[in-house]
């Protein structure tokens, strides 16, 4: 597993969250940020990130450098950089570890990004439940201020950058970038229509770039070692390495840094030690709960990159790999997820507000053997009403598990109907 250490390399260094340790013993020690801020042009930084092909690691996989380039050159208001540390996608726990174990590399990445955007203000939106992460990150920020890496005229230049932790308060929908922006403004976390895109009109009406924690933490490597080195691992369209979080029925769940394109079969059986207790694989959700589920056969022949997973009908998403063995009742598992989306819908859009609740009710009927004839068709019909009809993608995210479970494990649902009617 050596050679893939651009994100996890500081995690084994004790107290890497202390700036003294980070500067002496860790990459990149704030030296990369220093070189960028004192000697580079902002536009050149964006160009390098564009060419490196880094894609957003929160779930959407949008090219980061391209996103940065959307900020209008003639913007009247100053730009905001927001680190989306709202990690709420079920099955995902990578950003939490970045913040707890290596907050300084994340901050260093943010300094470089903010400099490229010439943003004077940065927020780190950390989900409220992560109390330890918020404390560690704020302490790290305070240390960076003391060292002159944040604040007025950083690294002795005339570029100033203010950065604080802004805590969320328990809302999955605030991981959606416009929901997050609403929340930062002090409002209910309701997402907004795009366009306008945040890069043009975002927080407080100003250009805003929202990037995932892991995306920002990937930046120092790219600036330190260059485009070719970054592209040494990964695939043409999915370059670089990514943190995959594996959970569920494996022997060794955890966070693993791997090159994009890595075979999912190898991740399950070699890296994670196989299915727990030597049982058989039944299903895998590869990219957080909003990604369509894969059968064992599909999972064993696919690769962990954006294109391969789309080809097999799913998505890389957040890289949250949820593994289910043959003891798993798929109706029970789906009920678990429909409850989640029904709870987390912000309620703005009728198809999502009503649809998530209705789907949860129906799937619960299946689990309790009370499902009626036509309930499968009813669910699929609701899915159609919820797809592409709402302000944000939470509605589509809620649909993917329902549709994919019904498609690939239909017999388990049909059995529940027969039982209910005494058949």
């Amino acid at each position: 597993m050596e050679g893939y250490r651009r994100l996890k390399h500081n995690w084994t260094i004790p107290r890497a969250w202390d700036i003294e340790v980070y500067r002496k013993r860790c990459k990149f020690g704030y030296e990369t940020a220093r070189k960028v801020v004192t000697a580079m042009e902002p536009a050149a930084v964006t160009e390098i990130v564009k060419q490196a092909g880094l894609r957003g690691r929160g779930g959407a996989g949008f090219p980061t450098g391209v996103k940065w380039g959307f900020v209008p050159k003639d913007a009247e208001k100053p730009t905001y950089l927001i680190n989306n540390a709202d990690e709420g996608e079920p099955g995902t726990f990578k950003d939490r570890y970045i913040m707890e174990l290596d907050p300084h590399q994340m901050i260093e990445g943010m300094i470089i990004a903010a400099f490229a955007l010439q943003a004077p203000q940065a927020y780190i939106y950390i989900r409220g439940e992560l109390g330890l992460a918020a404390r560690r990150v704020q302490a790290a920020i305070d240390q960076a201020y003391e060292a002159g890496f944040l604040g007025k005229g950083i690294f002795g230049t005339d570029y100033s950058l203010d950065m604080i932790v802004h805590r969320g308060a328990g809302a999955y929908v605030c991981g959606e970038e416009t929901g997050l922006i609403s929340s930062v403004e002090g409002k209910r976390g309701n997402p907004r229509l795009k366009p306008p895109f945040p890069a043009v009109v975002g927080a407080f009406g100003a250009p805003t770039i929202v990037n995932n924690t892991e995306t920002l933490t990937s930046i120092p490597f790219i600036l330190e070692h260059g485009v070719e080195a970054y592209r040494e691992h990964g695939t043409e369209k999915s370059p670089g390495t990514k943190l995959f979080t594996v959970s569920g029925h494996v022997e060794k769940p955890g966070v693993y840094e791997l090159p994009l394109g890595f075979p999912l079969k190898e991740l399950l059986y070699d890296v994670c030690g196989g299915i727990r207790g030597g049982r058989k694989l039944k299903a895998v959700i590869p990219g957080g709960s909003s990604a369509p589920v894969l059968t064992a056969e599909e999972a064993e022949r696919t690769h962990l990159d954006y294109e391969s997973l789309m080809e097999v009908g799913s998505m890389l998403g957040s890289g949250g790999v949820i593994v289910m063995d043959d003891t798993t009742d798929m109706v029970w598992a789906l009920k678990n997820l429909t409850h989640f989306y029904a709870h987390e819908s912000c309620g703005q859009c009728t198809p999502c507000r009503e649809g998530t609740r209705w789907m949860d009710d129906i799937v619960r009927r299946f689990h309790e053997n009370r499902a009626a004839e036509g309930d499968i068709e009813r669910l699929l019909d609701i899915c159609d009403s919820m797809s592409g009809t709402t302000i944000c993608a939470l509605s589509d995210a809620a649909v993917f598990p329902v549709k994919s479970f019904l498609t690939k494990f239909r017999e388990e649902f049909e059995q529940r109907i027969q039982r209910g009617t005494g058949g």
Partner: protein, 165 residues
């Protein structure tokens, strides 16, 4: 933690006033400091009561209705009192695959309450919450806003409850 006694005037204590003043300059509007301010009040009073909402509304110069709208949206900003120890168990899929339902059942048995309830002595409230971002070390619970208790076993749960007695 103080009580939100209706007869007692609600106000940030000295430490929270200092923290409140420190965070204001980082935002272009006072309204943007609303959730941070509510977090401070939540820490101090344990829940976001109507009196707390009215106080925060006044400090930030926003309508009470706006504060009510925000408090009612976010799961952590509970508007009802909770016990001294709010035990929150993750119920989402990865933890459920590793036995979260057994964790909840065991806690219900030991505490003598059901999910959503508080023990009569006001010590424990038991809740189910959604994914806490600790899926690889599930099942997981969180007491108040402390560090997560991970890789739970029935023995570990008993030890946690004993420690909190």
């Amino acid at each position: 933690m103080e009580t939100s006694d209706k007869h007692e005037k609600i106000a940030f204590n000295e430490e929270n006033e200092r923290r409140f003043q420190k965070l204001l300059p980082h935002y272009p509007t006072r309204e943007a400091a609303l959730i941070p301010a509510l977090h401070l009040a939540l820490e101090q009073y344990g829940y976001v009561s109507r009196e707390v909402m009215a106080y925060v509304a006044e400090r930030l110069d926003v309508p009470l209705s706006k504060v009510l709208g925000v408090a009612s949206f976010y799961t952590m900003l509970n508007m009802d009192p909770v016990g001294r120890y709010h035990i929150q168990v993750c119920r989402t899929l990865s933890c459920a695959l590793r036995g979260a339902e057994d964790v909840v059942a065991h806690l219900e048995k030991r505490l003598g309450i059901k999910v959503g309830e508080t023990t009569p002595d006001g010590k424990f409230t038991l809740s189910e919450v959604e994914c806490l971002a600790s899926c690889g070390s599930g099942p997981v619970l969180q007491v108040n806003n402390e560090e997560y208790e991970e890789n739970l076993t029935l023995e570990k749960i008993d030890a946690i409850l004993d420690r909190l007695q």
